[in-house]
Every structure is written in C-alpha cells, then in structure tokens.
C-alpha cells in the first residue's frame, strides 16, 4: 500500500508519502508529484519518513519530477528519509543533486 497526503504550507507544497515504493506502484508517486506540479506548485517537500523501502523505480519518479521542477526554477527537497532510503539515494549519487533534510520543518523552512 502506498498513500499520499498533500498539504500546503505556503509557499511550500508538502507531500507526505507512506508505504512501500517499488515497481508495482512507483507510478503513483509520479502521479502525485506531477499532479502538484501541474497545478503550478514549484516548491515541493517530499516527506519520506513513513517509507521504509524504496527501489530504483521510486528514484526514477523523483528524478523526473526534479528535472521538471528545476526547469521551472522550482525544487523538490526530501524530508526525513529512513536509513534504507538514504542508502538508495546515496548509492545513485542523487544526494549531490537533491537536498535532504532531517526534519519536515527544516525542509519547509529551507525555501
């Protein structure tokens, strides 16, 4: 099961994901992110505290959203990923491209 809760904390849009992100459902993460971006929001925080597992399929959606946002001078920042998710982000080298914060508040206030 993978769920999303989207809320506005102006100027930031917060997307809280919960569940397991793999090839069976990563498209839902892609949809959630594109939905927010298509509404014109460009300052996003993706909270991954309730995601215990993410495969490269999830990473792929994050990279596409990030590319889209950067072109629109926006950004996607990650808040409180679990150790296993951090490992995946670091393995892909994406940690040098995306900002990761230890808490939701820090991520939101970073904008």
């Amino acid at each position: 099961m993978l769920d999303f809760n989207v809320s506005q904390s102006d100027p930031v849009t917060l997307i809280e994901a919960s569940g397991r992100i793999d090839s069976s459902n990563a498209n839902l993460l892609g949809d959630a992110l594109s939905g927010v971006i298509d509404e014109g929001h460009t300052q996003l925080v993706l909270d991954l505290s309730a995601v215990g597992y993410m495969s490269s399929a999830g990473l792929r959606e994050i990279v596409s959203a990030l590319k889209k946002l950067r072109r629109a001078s926006g950004d996607l920042r990650i808040a409180q990923p679990s150790p296993r998710v951090v490992e995946v982000i670091e393995m892909s080298g994406l940690d040098s491209e995306i900002q990761v914060f230890a808490s939701q508040a820090e991520a939101i206030n970073s904008y």
Binding site: S24, S55, S56, R60, R70, R84, M91, L94, S96
Partner: protein
C-alpha cells in the same frame, strides 16, 4: 541451510512476495537488517527487469524462480527465468556523478545490485537465464577477510615522544594490504634507530588473519633488533580477536597510548 525455492508468476504485483521470501531467508541465514535489505532490493530490481524487459509486462503464463541457500559464510540467491537469453550484468553502468539533466533514467537497478552484492554470476543453460547473487555473512569476530569492500588507504601516523618512544597509528582495516604498508613504516622506524615502538590501534576497527600474521612478524623483527613493539588502545572488535587466539598473552597491551607512554618502561633508551 537447505535450498529454499519460491516460484512467482512473471507479474510486477508478485515481486513483493519474492521480496518477503528473500528477507525471511536472508534473516534466517544470519544476515543483518541492512544486508537483508540489500538482498531484497537486488531481487526486486532483477525481477522488475526480467518482467519489464524480458517477458513483457503482465505475462502470467510465465514465471520466475527464486532459490535461496546458505553455503558456508555465503547467502546465495539464484534468480531463474526462461525469457530470451539476456545478461543483465553486461550493460554499461549509469554514472552516479552525472548532473541532473544528464542522468540516465534506467539502468540503476542492476547498478545497485552490483554495488550491494558481493558476487554476481550470470549464465544461460537449459533454456533459462540464471543470475546468481551472493551476500557474504559478516564474521562476528572480524576474522573474515572479505566482509567489506576495501577502503581507500588511510595514512599511518608516526609520532615521537620523550625517551625515544615512538607511536605508530594505523587506521581502518588491518588486512594484508594495509599491514604491508604498516610493515614498511615499522621497518623504516627501526632503520632510523627507533626501537621503542607503540602501535596505537585505537583507530583500527578490523584486523584480518593476514594482518595478525604480519603483526607477529613485526614484533619478532623489533625484538631481534633489541627493541620492543607494544600495543595500545585496542578497539572492542580487535580485542575480541586478540583474546580469541591468545595474542593478548604474546603482546604487551595497554588501554591507551597515554597509558602506554606513562607506564611502559622500554629496555633501550
């Protein structure tokens, strides 16, 4: 551990079942949570590849077999499928240092597998692709040679103290390669006439059997030149190995470098 086998239909939704199976087997084989996660991620990534690229999506007539086995200190996972012959390891790796715009979208799954697993073999026989992935079990005593990937060589620090005492501080893993570098340092110090040697081990978190052998030969060598080599600041994992093989009876060991400097009386001044 006997061979355990799971067959899933070649559908993305069934991969989670394979993941649960592998995690359970990995944990019962004695892998820790992080290593079990590596196995899970590896199985997830390779099954996803087989289904998306090998079979074409949603082919429930086909299946993938996952076989787990513990063999000595190795947890072995075999993934078998009968789609067209394809070596997943043959593909060029994506570049993790590439900038966002140039980042490759696909290919990360197999790259992760290569990073996470200790051994990988692909073969095609009897009409089936087989990927064999091995995760080595970490040795509790730290005696095993092959539990972690080698680190960059770290500097070995030499410092001089009153009474012609010298400390030599290696760091990280003391395996054959790093012990040879330590050997070179000790030989140089002896050549310079420094015979009161304290090996500061406080930054050594792992010692391999090859490292232990070299340590003994260095101790003998120092003694032969009328010097002494004592040890200080063993970390818990190294101390455990020392006690296990009785090295604590051979070497003079102090809790810390400072304690060694304050309390040990070398014979030569």
């Amino acid at each position: 551990m006997n061979e355990k086998k799971l067959r899933i239909s070649a559908q993305i939704k069934d991969i989670a079942t394979a993941c649960d199976f592998v995690v359970a087997e990995a944990e019962s084989a004695g892998l820790d949570e992080r290593d079990a996660h590596h196995c899970q991620l590896a199985v997830d990534e390779i099954c996803t590849n087989i289904i998306e690229h090998g079979y074409g999506l949603a082919d429930d007539e086909r299946f993938i077999d996952i076989i787990c086995q513990k063999y000595d200190n190795r947890f072995v996972v075999q993934i078998l499928d009968d789609s067209f012959p394809f070596d997943p390891l043959g593909r060029t790796d994506p570049d993790p240092t590439s900038e966002l715009e140039d980042r490759r979208i696909g290919g990360w799954g197999v790259y992760f597998i290569k990073k996470m697993m200790d051994e990988l073999t692909y073969d095609y026989s009897q009409g089936r692709n087989r990927l064999t992935m091995v995760k080595r079990l970490k040795s509790k005593t730290g005696l095993s040679e092959n539990t972690r990937k080698p680190l960059e060589p770290t500097p070995i620090l030499v410092s001089s103290y009153p009474n012609n005492n010298w400390s030599i501080a290696p760091s990280g893993r003391l395996d054959i390669a790093s012990s040879r570098r330590l050997e070179a340092v000790v030989v140089k110090e002896l050549g310079d006439g420094h015979r009161n040697l304290i090996l500061d081990m406080s930054k050594v978190d792992y010692i391999a059997s090859g490292g232990l052998k070299i340590l003994v030969s260095l101790w003998k060598r120092t003694r032969d030149q009328r010097g002494d080599l004592i040890l200080a600041g063993l970390t818990p994992s190294v101390r455990e190995v020392f006690m296990l093989i009785g090295f604590d009876l051979v070497f003079t060991v102090f809790k810390s470098l400072n304690e060694a400097l304050a309390n040990h009386k070398f014979n030569s001044k």
